[in-house]
Symmetry: C2
Subunit: 340 residues, 2 copies
Amino acid sequence: MNLLSSKHLAFYGYRSILWFLFLLLSAVADARSTDPLPSWNSGLSKSAIMQFVKDVTRKGGSDFVPPAERIATFDNDGTLWCEQPMTVQLVFALDRVKAVAPEHPEWKHTEPFKSILANDMKGVMATGEHGLVELIMTTHTGMTVEEFNQIAKYWLTQSKHPKFNRPYTELVYQPMLELLSYLRANGFKTYVVSGGGIEFMRPWTEKVYGIPPEQVIGSSIKMKYELVDGKPVLMRLPEIDFVDDKDGKPVGIQKFIGRRPIAAFGNSDGDLQMLQWTTATNAPHFALLVHHTDAEREYAYDRDSSIGRLDKALDEARQKSWTVVDMKKDWKRVFPLEKP
Amino acid sequence: MNLLSSKHLAFYGYRSILWFLFLLLSAVADARSTDPLPSWNSGLSKSAIMQFVKDVTRKGGSDFVPPAERIATFDNDGTLWCEQPMTVQLVFALDRVKAVAPEHPEWKHTEPFKSILANDMKGVMATGEHGLVELIMTTHTGMTVEEFNQIAKYWLTQSKHPKFNRPYTELVYQPMLELLSYLRANGFKTYVVSGGGIEFMRPWTEKVYGIPPEQVIGSSIKMKYELVDGKPVLMRLPEIDFVDDKDGKPVGIQKFIGRRPIAAFGNSDGDLQMLQWTTATNAPHFALLVHHTDAEREYAYDRDSSIGRLDKALDEARQKSWTVVDMKKDWKRVFPLEKP
């Protein structure tokens, strides 16, 4: 038998090509299935994350961190979900004013309600911090915790983002969802540490982020334990308890967790102190900022934005070599609804 | 061969007795090793605990509770460790005054320090709430969180209980340690919810109770994030942030955990609201009070005690059929140091 006949060569060549294709496709499929961060493009951000996780989980390695100490904290607005063109909780507050306005005829003549009801956002902004506090207290207090959770939860099922026409809880960042899962699969405990209201987030973070209520840290109003007809309730009082933003984030972290995170993730100057606190140690640590650079798929904003301003933190990130995610370049997908 | 000869009978009889003894000893050893609460005597308290755990963990059962919702909260002073003749943290505060007195010559003339330095406890008590707040602020604030944790941790290694002559962290209740382990083995997340200072407990609860810092809730003072020589620190300010006692306990639970516990454990009127809150639901729940009835092995106190008073809560427990542990009757051992 002549194995080198042209007929045989053609036969084996054909088989070889098929075999090669099969191996190639398998390898691609394999890489896809074993890549824990499939929505992240290869690059410095992705490799920095994966190197850090590899280092702190390698037993016997110099950077090994015991699982109990693998605390990772994530800002919410702009880091895990979309915060433009307006923070979701502010949209909620404005909607609530409109929903309960019939019970408050006096609002036609008092700010910030008058401007809200007239859809005059400039007028609302003109009422300043006083108007904002008034708005939050009116819409977020005077009910029990359980009642507020129901209101917030229901509103989220009913409301849609003006640009994407999707519920807000679908406008979470797919690469960050993968990052949360990846960290948890490596023994990390993941926390939300947000300037937003703690009870506004708790009803949905478990379902959307896999983060249970007890791992959500946020701003809060005071509560009071009361017996109503002999039944205990927790009433939400119109008084600020804690502002979990900027200087407040390391305080909130110590208050709730009682130890320093080894990794922190943010996107704005409101996260700067959390990243400073996380990295001010000789122990292994990781800090990352999401830089919104994608006007097409999401929004592009940084130093001049009134919402989620990223200015000082961007400078400090560069100076201290923190990881800065270029959303446009680093993320293959932005939202889960985009097909992979 | 005659199997019924007296010689054979004696032989088999001897073997049977040995075999019987072996089985008996095995069964005893087995019962000991499989009893999750070996320091609890059989009785209503032990069976109520075990029945509850059985009910909420039985898949498909009407009282099944998913693991994520199995939250159990424990008071600390008098529930997990000895609080007599004086709350441990108060002993710590008094000791701290003596330790730093040389730096404060003015204390010779100002209360409550003058009385403390003269070992005049009646004089200290006469300074009332104002004196107590002064004492706590002076000894617990004005340093960073890390510094305070070191001070508290070191003090605990150096100090001994006046009656038992042992470190306070050895005067924890063995039956409650077993209960904590038993609940965790059944998927529960165990929390400390104490009127005591949160940062006074965190340095040692993981080692002693198996409860990590992020599952410790307690009273707190305000903290401030500061840069000292460019290095971030959390300073403890002389201002009360939150009192986690009585009405404060359900508030602290909601603030930190964000869901209602399904089981709560206390020993005094300071725990009443936590037990009310835990049991005010149609969902499965469990409430238990430790009643200190053992003057010999520990202390006997309830309605008339100034520390850990148990009066209203005892009445409500009987009225609502909560489990009341009779320490003398229900506990085989009180402290781990006693031989089993």
